[in-house]
């Protein structure tokens, strides 16, 4: 395991500086990119979690399931510290007495004997978990075998024939991507909600519920005749050596709705084949009656009753907004458009609060049982993601937004959900619990990521909360290798126990999860950082600053706040944080704006903040609430690199002058004779400069003598394809010309260094970074440019009154 910024243990640590932890909180970023977890939780937590006074504290990004090929296969249980309130796991940072067969827990300093099977251990012959390279280690718990994953498809049938058939195709295709032993279930909904019984001979059966009436888990259980299994009492697959797929069929009705794919494959194919559009007539001027809320409730209830505590996904496909019953986001009258940000601000969104309450409750229920909820929403209008977001956000499920189920965006994205690694295992994990253990001086104050708090208090829980706090454990119902959580720590001055100079602070991340193969696994990551003194060694501290990670963490915090606070408050808060950082780490003389300098590790940070402020994460203008929710959802779960792209898109320039080169995200990069490729994570924009576009329109690339032009045109496309191939969700691909309407995607992102306001004022005096004759294209906006922003920042940072 690698920590991208501060490295792993045996290497010299720069990171954790020890300082006057009591007064000043140095920036400390422990960025654990490679390992595992992310936490995040919003709902019940008051935002006081983030106190204004508190400058950014120590925090990290943790990717629990980072794919690594160097992990040793360990098939035994981890050794735990015997102290009952510690239970940390043996790791390379522990002191080991090989002779006496004792180890000292590096968190609580308890002396623990090794279990008997470690008797043969010597210094030369160490168990894997003591070998320093294996500060990340994964245990496979053989005795607790869990059933294969569950996939419950919840399918909207209120869409036109073409959409529905594309969706059916996609789902049918996905069946072939699932492991044959996976349990699958199908729920369809429209005006009513039908739960399909699978594998019945001769007569297709389904249970139908009214779309306007919510059902509690208990009612559902009675109505479907389900027998509840005690949590954890999953059907044991016979002998450990049994094929993982051969989960013994349970007796009783439980399995009527959720059955192994292998046994109901044909049936499901037929079922999907015969699936019809919702037959109820939709009168002119009305929306189809769609009972998404109840459908989801039934799905959650079904899994809750049958397989509590077993990993599973509810995959919800919606083609429009929920228009009746609980979870309704709009009524069925087309006269009433679905709510906008404006409506929400004005408190004009009639159904929103109730709907949010409904979906949030569902999210909590699903999360409590370890089931993830994915939402695949494809419609031209909004579908209510803003209300439903809690389901995927709480459970770690996916949220995918597209225009049509018939688009490659949806098809590819959906297929990618079932991607497999080299071993042929699904790249997803289920029902994970992340536990964080810290040494005494550190406390966990919260997490932000696609998870919920498990509300487990322990000695390492801080009093202040950031994100979802008050716990040292979080539940991730689904994990992908890229799922990343932010975790926040606090340094505690324990009276009478000063932090020893030169000591190290340790953090252990323990992730237990259900592997897609049906194994229960535990991944343990242990990191340590040196303590540095902030007053004496500020340099150390600032040298350990990871501006990328810090920017992403800042974004998460800001988004977390934005969910509840007014947009302008959040912006002010972001500004204040930035100014404070500049004040602390900048070099300047008071009140002299021009003297301001930032160290190299900080140099890009203000620019990130600039783009964050302008980004769709904090600016809702021109976005629907659904889009905002979608963007924020992605920011909340992606890893560092992707998150950075989201905040500050990448821009490459292609020209005859040489190989493609990254260029500034600036309006000056727009040149007539260039092709630009912008990757905003959500969109890939290929932007042809004016001249290029003319040439293309004239068809030069079709002429053999202009083959080089053809190659130039193709180059960005090829690169775009590469990105499109690998990213989840698949970005929207936009091919446009300068001056075209789609060009707005690019123009809205670039730094407006030239606008209609300044292009004449500054005339040609603007520095032109490129050698091209004309200096970019003006952007018609009133937004401030980065230059103006920086000027202000400097002024405020050096101001003695700020």
């Amino acid at each position: 395991m690698v920590i991208r910024w501060g490295r792993l243990w045996p290497l010299p640590f720069i990171e954790m500086t020890l300082g006057e932890f009591t007064t000043v909180d140095p920036f400390k970023v422990v960025k654990v990119v490679e390992s595992q977890v992310t936490l995040h939780r919003r709902h019940p937590l008051p935002r006081r979690a983030i106190k204004e006074e508190c400058p950014p504290t120590r925090r990290c990004l943790y990717t629990p399931l980072k794919e690594r090929n160097d992990l040793p296969p360990i098939q035994y249980d981890p050794v735990l510290c015997t102290r009952s309130n510690c239970r940390a796991i043996l790791n390379p940072l522990c002191q080991v007495d090989y002779r006496a067969k004792f180890w000292v827990c590096n968190f609580c300093f308890q002396r623990n004997p090794f279990p008997a099977q470690y008797g043969a251990m010597t210094e030369q012959c160490q168990p894997a978990e003591l070998i320093p390279q294996f500060s990340t280690i994964e245990y496979t718990i053989m005795r607790a075998q869990v059933p294969p994953p569950i996939f419950l498809f919840v399918i909207d049938t209120c869409m036109d024939e073409e959409e529905l058939s594309s969706l059916k195709e996609a789902i049918q295709l996905s069946l072939s991507l699932l492991p044959p032993n996976a349990l699958i279930g199908i729920i369809t909904f429209g005006k009513m909600v039908a739960v399909h019984e699978l594998g019945c001979d001769g007569c297709a059966k389904s249970y139908v519920f009214r779309g306007t009436k919510d059902l509690s888990g208990k009612q559902l259980q009675e109505m479907l005749g389900l027998t509840r299994q005690a949590p954890g009492q999953v059907p044991a697959p016979g002998a450990p050596g049994a094929m993982p797929g051969q989960v013994p069929r349970q007796q009783g009705p439980v399995n009527r709705f959720l059955q192994p794919l292998s046994s109901v494959d044909m049936y499901v194919t037929d079922l999907l084949g015969e699936l019809q559009r919702d037959p109820w007539l939709v009168p002119q001027g009305k929306r189809a009656l769609r009972s998404t809320g109840v459908a989801l409730s039934v799905a959650v209830g079904l899994l809750e009753c049958c397989y509590p505590g077993n990993g599973g996904r509810i995959m919800l496909f919606v083609g429009g907004p929920c228009s009746q019953g609980p979870g309704q986001v709009v009524n069925d009258d087309l006269k009433n458009p679905i709510r906008s940000h404006h409506d929400i601000e004005k408190d004009n969104a009639k159904y929103m609060k109730k709907a949010i309450k409904h979906y949030e409750a569902l999210g909590v229920r699903a999360a409590a049982n370890g089931h993830a909820v994915d939402i695949y929403s494809c419609a031209l209008d909004q579908t209510g993601l803003a209300e439903m977001k809690f389901c995927p956000n709480n459970t770690g499920g996916h949220m995918v937004m597209g225009d049509s189920f018939n688009s490659s965006l949806f098809k590819q994205t959906y297929q990618r959900v079932f991607a497999r690694n080299e071993k042929g295992e699904l790249r997803m994990a289920f029902n994970a619990t992340l536990e964080v253990k810290t040494s005494r001086e550190l406390k966990v104050s919260g997490a932000i990521g696609p998870c919920v708090s498990l509300g487990v208090k322990s000695g390492c829980v801080a009093e202040t909360e950031m994100g979802m706090g008050g716990t040292c454990q979080w539940k991730f119902c689904a994990l992908t290798p890229s799922t990343t959580t932010a975790i926040f720590f606090e340094i505690v001055n324990q009276h009478g126990a000063p932090i020893p100079q030169g000591g190290r602070g340790c953090i252990q991340f323990i992730t237990q999860y259900q592997h897609s193969s049906g194994q229960q696994r535990v991944r343990v990551v242990t990191v340590a950082r040196n303590w540095a003194d902030a007053t004496a060694n500020l340099y150390h501290i600032s040298a350990g600053f990871d501006q990328d990670a810090s920017a992403v963490l800042m974004a998460r915090l800001a988004v977390f706040r934005a969910e509840s606070d007014d947009g302008s408050d959040v912006l002010r808060w972001v500004d204040r944080m930035l100014i404070r950082l500049c004040q602390k780490f900048g070099e300047y003389s008071k009140d002299d704006q021009n003297s301001f300098r930032l160290a190299e590790h900080f140099s890009l940070y203000p620019q990130f903040m600039f783009h964050l402020r302008r980004s769709q994460f904090l600016q809702v203008f021109n976005n629907s609430p659904d889009e905002t929710s979608f963007y924020r959802h992605m920011l909340n779960r992606e890893d560092l690199t992707q998150s950075l792209i989201m905040m500050q898109p990448l821009l490459y320039s292609y020209s005859f002058n040489g190989p493609p080169e990254p260029v500034l995200l600036d309006s000056s990069s727009i040149q007539a004779d260039r092709i630009l490729l912008m990757d905003t994570f959500f969109q890939i924009v290929i932007f042809h400069g004016e001249t290029i576009a003319q040439w293309r329109a004239a068809g030069y690339h079709k002429l053999p003598e202009y083959d080089n032009f053809r190659q130039l045109l193709e180059a960005p496309m090829t690169d775009a394809q590469e990105i499109l191939q690998s990213r989840f969700p698949m970005p929207r691909y936009i091919d446009t010309d300068q001056g075209g309407s789609q060009a707005r995607f690019l123009l809205s992102k670039v730094n407006p260094s030239q606008t209609h306001n300044n292009m004449y004022a500054y005339g040609g005096s603007m520095p032109v970074p490129q050698s091209s004759a004309d200096g970019g294209a003006p952007v018609l906006t009133d937004d401030v440019s980065l230059q103006v922003f920086m000027d202000h920042l400097k002024k405020l940072a050096v101001s003695s009154t700020a």
Partner: protein, 1011 residues
Amino acid sequence: MQVAGAYNPQQQLPNLTQQINSLSINGQPQQGPGQVKQPPPGPPQLFPQQGLQSNVQQPPQFQPAPGPGYRPPQQPQPVPGGFPPQIQSQHPFPPQSAGQPPQANGYAPQPQQQSYPPQQPQPQAGPPHLGPPGPGGYGVQSPPQPGGYMGPPNAGYPPQPQQPIQGQPQGANYFTGPPVAGPPGPGAPAPGQYGMPLAPGQYPRPPGPGGYQPNLPHAPSGPGVPQYPGMPGAGAAAGTKRLDPDQMPSAIGVMQEDQQSRGGVFQTNQRGLLPPLVTTKFLVEDHGNASPRFVRSTMYSIPAQPDMLKQTAVPFAIVVNPLDNPARDEQPISCVDLGPMGPVRCIRCKAYMSPLMQFIDGGRRFQCLLCKATTEVPPEYFQHLDHQGQRVDKWERPELCKGTYEFVATMEYCRNNALPKEPAFIFVLDVSYNNVKSGLVNLLCSHMKSLLENLPSHTPVGFITYNSKVHFYNIDSSLAQPQMVIVPDVADMFMPLLKGFLVPRAEAINAIDNLMNQIPAMFHDTKETDAVLGPAVQAGMEALKASERVGKLLLFHSTLPSSDLAPGKLKNREGDRRLLGTDKEKTVLTPQNTYYNNLGQECVGAGVAVELYLFNNAYIDVATIGQVARLTGGAVNKYQYFQADIDGPRIIGDLAYHLSRPVGFDAVMRVRTSTGVRPTDFHGHFLMQNTTDVELGAIDAGKAIAVEIKHDDKLTEDEGVFIQIALLYTTIFGQRRLRLHNLALNTCGQMADLYRNCELDTIINFLAKQAVSKSIDSTPQAIKEGVIARCAQMLATYRKQCANPSMPGQLILPECLKLLPLYVNCVLKNDAVAGTQELTPDDRSWMMYNLMTMGVGQTVHYFYPKLIPVSGPTAQLDNPLPIRCSRDKLSEDSAYILETGIYLFLWIGASVNPDWLQNIFGVSNLAQLNVEPITELPDVNSDESLRLRGFIRTLRTERQRHMRLTVVRQRDKMELVMNRFLVEDRTSDGHPSYVDFLCHMHKEIRGLLNQ
């Protein structure tokens, strides 16, 4: 008369019997045979005269009761057997017997099968038998007796042969000549001893309640066999009978007589024409009045004065079978389509164009005879009048010349002003444990295809099954296999399917087949015992609503709905079964909650009828759940302890009849009458939300509605009373139609006219329905007394007002009502009216429901079962001759079929001919016959078997019900059950025999007369 006193059959009867006996002894017939006017052949037309006593000479004996103190006989033991029957019927003699039989006392030989001496003709034998005995034959003997009997023919009856001379013209009265009160024969107890009535002292007060001594438990049959001198006949000889029931007016006789005299063509061209009896086979020619098959009135001459009607206590009611079919050889009902104009109606009362409308003003206007308003004739409908003032096209238009016809209804007569779609049939099948185990599910599914053949090919059908959940089936033919859609939320039922649930039968035949294979397989191992009835009905209703159709639900249900989760939960009230017959019985006969009533109303609102088929093994609360069927115009059918292998043919047969019967959906019936009378009470299965509209989810040919009509005002004698019954309904093909029945009745100023033009079967039908209707808010005792009192009043009024003066002790019965006491007794002992504790509340309720929808044709045999010999030389299965319903008529060496319309027994005498056994059952000895499992006769290849099976089939077809055949061997336990249907006998639970009851009735009448 205050007879009201408790009529306690058990105790009193014996006394009565004795009285009768004693009286009759000397019975001299009052009339010579020749005098008697005999109406018809029917043997028993006699009327017992009550007074069996002699009118004449024996004043002392017979005391007309004035005296208060009726003294109980001292000796309890009457000699029951002793006296020969004394009842004298007045008309004992069939006219045909031309000669007067010489017999003096002819004790009328009722054909007994065995007990009587050979001389007597067999009554059953048909018409002829009547003849034999002279008038005197029946206890009445002496022709010469003056006052004796009058038996003037009814005007209505054409063929009266000879009228007795003396008879007053009124046809109906008979009185028997009371025989001279013969002194008791030797063996006979002295009157005094037995408390014979006659002695004045003895009977101080005949009727007084106190009069009867309670403690006299005489068995009717006393030891001593009296010899009656007077009775030469069998009575004496046989020595076993006291009062000979054969002397009493016999239902069989009346029917046969009527068949003889009235069979043939009946033309409805006059108003107030008394139709033949329902039992008579006749053809109707519709000449402006509705056929009696559709409408029967209790009387065809309506008193102009309301008081008169009140005085006679004869109910004025009509019983309508609006959708019945004409008989095979009759003309079909014409259907008139007036195009977009729609039916022509009276502007004021909205009556429909009918022969009752009179065109005036050159045909430009017409006057409605119901309300007298005149209405402009719509131009499209105008036609000139001929010289008689009739429209020229009168004979071309059914609505101007027929009593019964149909109109095609226009849009405004339709639900939501849209022409209807074809009505649908939905089979709603309970698939809980009981029904699966009993084999019902399997059975129904395997026969479904053939059952559906009874429906038109375009009729949509749908299937629902239910246990604790409700399952709908999608049988869209485009599906590879049927889909089952389960609605588990039974508390909030809705229709989950839009398409594919209701599919025209012919289109979905394969899917249905497929489904019918699946259903038994799906539920064969079910453990569910709950079945949610209410939601299942709702499901069907919602399904019909969703498809915007009306229709019918056939619900096959097995258990008391007791699920907590579903609405309509019922508690078991069977613990209260002891209540039947007591004043508290209504607590188990009324619904325990209103859920099912509300549901029924909702169904009617949606045009949905519910037919309940119940397969319970335990209490199911028919009283409550049957409300759904009652309000929607459905029926309750009960198959308790159902087992597919035994009862299979029965349910399948019943269903086939049900599905093939003509039916109308989403119907509204309205009865309009001419001014002066108006319909007040309605009895039957329907919903009434106001006072005029009878709303029906559906009505079929087998269902009748009784309507009581009352005077508003005086009528004029010459005008007549007009009734128009309009039924708006949707045919099974989805056409909206109006069926109209018009009936014109006479008005009369003379009470005698009324009595001459009564229809007893209809009266009984109505009285029974009225009694049943009352049983939910009155006590059985009160109801019974009410019926008896009413009956007594009818007869007493006649006696007082219409009959010739005669001895007060004589029982004189009007011709048309001479069977009234017999039938009233049958009604009172019928399970529907008087449930006893032997009956479960469920059975009682079921019977009550059944009765409420019966037409006159059904009630006749329901109250007085058909008993038909089927073995031996007398068996004529092609033209069966019923015999009287009495144990005495059963002969050991023969076999009989007894049929009530609901039950069907085959009684086999102990010494029946072994050949017959062999031919029918394939066994040679009765002991070898295991009767338990037999519900159908075995398929033995012999003529006799073929004939008998054919006969049974005919019976079932006539009834439109596959009555289960119960084989009863003489002296089997089952005989007890069957005995209950031998209605002329005394029953084990204390209901009086015919004879006893007649005596009681006589006493009541006397009481009234003496008031």
